[in-house]
C-alpha cells in the first residue's frame, strides 16, 4: 500500500491535477474570449499619475474602504496567511525535498523543521477559524453546502496528518500512509473541483468588471494590459 501510494499514485495524482487545471484553464479561455461592455471604466483613474498626491491617497483610502480589505480586514489577513502557508509549507518542507532528491535527484530550498512546524500550526489555526466561520456565522452558513465543508476538510487533512506524523502522535507508519493518501486526494481535488481557484483566481482578477480590477476589467483575454 505504502509503496503504491509513494510510487504510481503520486504520478496519477499530479497528472489528474495538471490535466484538470488545464481543462479548467482552456474552458475558461474559451468562455472569456469575447469582450463585454463594462459599466465602470478605469480610464478616469489612470489620468492621475502622481501616486503620492493628496488626491491619490484620499482616493486610495476610499477605494480600500469599498474592498474586503476595508470591510473584513481580519478575514483578509487570515486568508492571506492560509494561502501562503498552503503553498510554501509543502514546497519547502525538508522531508518532501529529501523524497524529491531521492526520486529525481532534484530538490528545492528547505525551511528548518521548526519553521515548517510553525507554518503548519499557523495553517491549522487559520483553517480551524475558517471552519468555525462556516458553521457559526449566519451569512457564511447560508451559502455553505456539504460540498464546501468536504473541500475544506480535504485541504486540512494533509496538514493535520503531516503534523501528527512529524510529532508521531499515533503509529507513524499508519499516519504517514494516510498523509500521503490525503495529500494525493487534495492534489486531484485541485484539478477537478473549485479548489482549482488556485489558477482561476488570477484569471478572475483580470476579468472582474469593475473599478477594482487590476486591468480595467474588460472580461476578455484579447485585452491590452
Amino acid at each position: 500500500m505504502y509503496e503504491f501510494l509513494r510510487g504510481p499514485m503520486v504520478c496519477i495524482a499530479f497528472l489528474v491535477c495538471v490535466l484538470g487545471l488545464l481543462y479548467q484553464f482552456i474552458s475558461l479561455l474559451r468562455l472569456t474570449s469575447v469582450k463585454e461592455h463594462i459599466f465602470y471604466s478605469s480610464k478616469a483613474k489612470k489620468k492621475n499619475r502622481n501616486l503620492l498626491s493628496e488626491e491619490s491617497l484620499s482616493n486610495l483610502s476610499i477605494k480600500i474602504k469599498g474592498t474586503i480589505l476595508g470591510t473584513e480586514p481580519f478575514v483578509v489577513i487570515l486568508t492571506t496567511l492560509f494561502h501562503i502557508c498552503i503553498i510554501i509549507t509543502p514546497l519547502f518542507l525538508m522531508g518532501h525535498n529529501i523524497l524529491m532528491y531521492e526520486s529525481w535527484s532534484f530538490s528545492l530550498y528547505s525551511f528548518s523543521e521548526s519553521f515548517t512546524d510553525f507554518l503548519t500550526l499557523l495553517f491549522l489555526v487559520c483553517a480551524a477559524i475558517f471552519l468555525l466561520r462556516r458553521i457559526f456565522i449566519a451569512r457564511v452558513r447560508a451559502v455553505t453546502g456539504i460540498y464546501d465543508l468536504i473541500l475544506l476538510l480535504i485541504t486540512i487533512a494533509p496538514f493535520l496528518t503531516g503534523y501528527m506524523a512529524y510529532h508521531q502522535l499515533i503509529n507513524y507508519e499508519t499516519i504517514i500512509t494516510i498523509h500521503i493518501l490525503v495529500g494525493e486526494i487534495m492534489l486531484m481535488a485541485i484539478g477537478l473541483t473549485k479548489l482549482g481557484h488556485a489558477v482561476f483566481f488570477f484569471f478572475a482578477r483580470l476579468l472582474i468588471g469593475s473599478e477594482y480590477s487590476f486591468s480595467g476589467g474588460s472580461r476578455a483575454w484579447k485585452l491590452k494590459i
Binding site: 470591510t71 473584513e72 451569512r139 452558513r141 451559502v143 473549485k194 472582474i208 468588471g209 472580461r219
Partner: protein
C-alpha cells in the same frame, strides 16, 4: 392549490436561455462560498440578513435554475422572483474576491423569470 401553481412553465425556453450563459455557470461553480461579498451590498449592510448577501441571491436564483437544469415550477420561479427583485436592486456594487459578476447573474435570472410571466408588479406590490 392556487391557480398559479398550475401555470405551465416553458422549461425548454429556460434551458435554452441557460445554455446561452455557460460562463455564468462556470463562475457559479467556482464560488468559494466565502461570504466576503456580503458587506459590498448596501441592502445586506442595512438588514444584516443572509438572504440579502449577493452570493446567496445568485446561488438561489440563477444557481438554482442551473442546478435544476431549467426544470422548475411556477412556485420556484416565484421564490426566485422574491430574491431577484425583492432583495436586489441591481446596482452592480457587489464585490466578489474572485471577480464573479454577481449582478449580471441576478439580471439574467430576472430575464428568465420575465419570459415565464413572473416579474415584480410594482403597480400592485408596493415595497418599502
Amino acid at each position: 392549490m392556487t391557480e398559479n401553481e398550475h401555470r405551465i412553465i416553458d422549461n425548454c425556453k429556460i434551458k435554452e436561455m441557460l445554455s446561452q450563459k455557460k460562463k455564468m455557470k462556470k463562475f457559479l461553480s467556482v464560488c468559494a462560498s466565502c461570504g466576503l461579498c456580503a458587506e459590498s451590498c448596501f441592502l445586506y449592510r442595512n438588514k444584516k440578513e443572509p438572504e440579502y448577501m449577493p452570493s446567496y441571491k445568485a446561488i438561489n436564483s440563477l444557481g438554482k435554475l442551473f442546478k435544476k437544469k431549467g426544470n422548475v415550477t411556477y412556485t420556484m420561479l416565484e421564490e426566485i422572483k422574491e430574491l431577484a427583485w425583492g432583495n436586489c436592486v441591481l446596482c452592480g456594487r457587489c464585490y466578489c474576491p474572485f471577480g464573479i459578476d454577481i449582478s449580471s447573474m441576478i439580471s439574467w435570472a430576472r430575464t428568465i423569470c420575465r419570459t415565464q410571466g413572473v416579474y415584480e408588479r410594482y403597480d400592485l406590490n408596493v415595497r418599502g
